[in-house]
């Protein structure tokens, strides 16, 4: 029964710890913060996204930029995170569009929170993912993003996305586009 396994494991942990000679535990110290570069986090975010083979457009006219991208892609079946198709149908879609709740400049990472939108499949299944994020939601570091997420109760599913999907499992050769999207477009909406 699960309970006796629980007690057994916890008991084993306690017994073995009690048997242990005293350790010398180092002080738990936060490492010195790396000074963040003075340059504009939005531009740094763009550079970071591009360094992982994503596309990044900074604009004050997000609607038009989005239209342009969709035209270039000649996309017919487009899934939106505010009203996504069901799990079965989504495999037939070419583009998934979502917003992002935050973005991390140092790594080019998008932060998507399931409490805010239904991003899980839209940002994963179609071969192209387009994400729109407000310029004001760009933070400097990973630690800033984690702190932000902790401000309220952690939602059931949060996803960090850094570039399109990839693998290096075959001879360590990089291949872009495995199970997740092959293309990632990030539109940074500077009007907000």
């Amino acid at each position: 029964m699960s309970n006796s396994a629980r007690e057994s494991i916890l008991g084993s942990i306690r017994t073995h710890l009690a048997a242990s000679p005293a350790p010398d535990v180092e002080e738990h110290q936060a490492p010195p913060k790396i000074p963040v570069s003075k340059s504009d986090p939005i531009n740094r975010f763009k550079e970071s996204v591009e360094s992982v083979a994503g596309h990044c457009i900074i604009t004050t006219d997000a609607t038009n930029v989005l239209k342009q991208i969709l035209t270039e892609l000649n996309a017919q079946r487009i899934a939106y995170s505010d009203n996504p198709p069901n799990a079965h149908d989504i495999f037939g879609y070419e583009v998934g569009i979502s917003t992002a709740q935050a973005a991390i400049a140092e790594t080019g990472t998008l932060v998507l929170d399931s409490a805010c939108e239904r991003h899980r499949l839209v940002s994963l299944v179609p071969p192209v993912h387009i994400a729109i994020v407000n310029a004001s939601a760009v933070v400097e570091t990973l630690s800033d993003a984690l702190a932000l997420l902790q401000k309220k109760e952690i939602s059931p599913a949060i996803t960090f996305i850094t570039g399109p999907s990839r693998t290096a499992d075959i001879e360590l050769t990089l291949a872009i586009g495995v199970h997740g999207p092959q293309e990632l477009y990030v539109i940074v909406d500077g009007s907000k």
């Binding site: 396994a5 494991i9 599913a157 996803t159 996305i161 290096a168 199970h179």
Partner: protein, 456 residues
Amino acid sequence: MNHLSSETFKENARAALADVQLRGALKNATSLFGARRKEAAASLPNWEDLRTQARAIKDEVLLHLDRYLEEFVRNAESRGATVHWARDAAEANTIICGLAKERNARIVVKSKSMTTEETHLNDALEAAGMQVIETDLGEYIIQLAHEPPSHIIAPAIHKTRQQIGELFTAELGMPPTDNVDQMTSTARAKLRDRFAAADVGISGVNFAVAETGTIVIVENEGNIRLTTSLPRLHIAVMGIEKVIPRFTDLDVFLKLLPRSGTGQRLTTYQSFITGTKRAPTDEGPDELHIVLLDNGRSRMLAHPVTRQSLACIRCGACLNACPVYQQVGGHAYGSVYPGPIGAVITPQLMGIQKAAQLPYASSLCGACREVCPVKIDIPRLLLHLRGEISPRKGSRAERVAFKMWARVMTSPSLYKLSSVAGRILQRVTPISRAWTNGRDLRPIESKSFHDLWSNE
């Protein structure tokens, strides 16, 4: 599956050394991995501080593992997860097979989890009548090839692209090619509909946050996200040592793990999963079950030297740095966990009798300790294990030899005599024969330094 055994490491290694293709693949992979890791570490000026902090966090957790596990479980359960405790591999497999059978599961998709390899979960699921599909590309490759993984993070690293191409042609009907993009698209296409059809998704866990009950899983391909969001039941399997105290601690570990493992700043996806969905119409599985596995881990808590084994974050950096692994690869170790970390945890998890050779398969060079993001002193651990094994399990001849050695080294007259004996016997001892296999042997000098000093 043709598993080699740890008990025959020496023979396994010999066979590996004769495999030219394997050695070529290993050389390329380990040097590339090593170079990328080095660059990524150098790009962070506070890398050493991060290592220290990560180790301090792990030490803190391990010293109070019971408390942090209980906190994790409490928080995960309050958010809708069901947590199971498994004392050993068999119990874990029973629990997981039970969960799948209760829901009449036919198809199980899996993302890469060393812990489930450790328990041989796939065999158990298949025996229970389920179809198991590995979705990580490297795992998919070795599943098709009926081989165990040879590396902690790149399971198919021992295979050349030609070998993989031939495998895909034979098993999947792919038109012959050794183009990596084409092979990747073939795998993607084949696996696509499996995700949608799967009843159960099984994943591992990289970090389990006690403070929030969150499990964190990192990947590049997207198969973990598919595995953990499409099927109605998600089972996450984790060793009990995966717990970290606070959500903010993730910063340190997410900086160290990708850089140490693949040289990336961050892997493409991190999934932070906390309990189950709030409303039935929300995305995601209906159920989340988390299986906590002991299987010998709690025993390692009994000594500070062995306790550090549990700090491992499974990055694989030590494998890439190890001169022994670089030559023989992962299969020779006969364990799910090869390389330096494998040499120390395999005997502890599986029992010393089953893996007694492994702690001796090292030159103690310390390269592993240098690259370990959580500063595990693997050479110290190896010596600790040797200290447990040699006096009891070392060959009789060896034990006697060292007793004699101690007598010689503590008696000046015996020491002098031994050099005389050495000069006579040097070419015929088993030690000399093993040495002269590939190397010339320098003869013992006719006059020792002691002798020369006397003439001063």
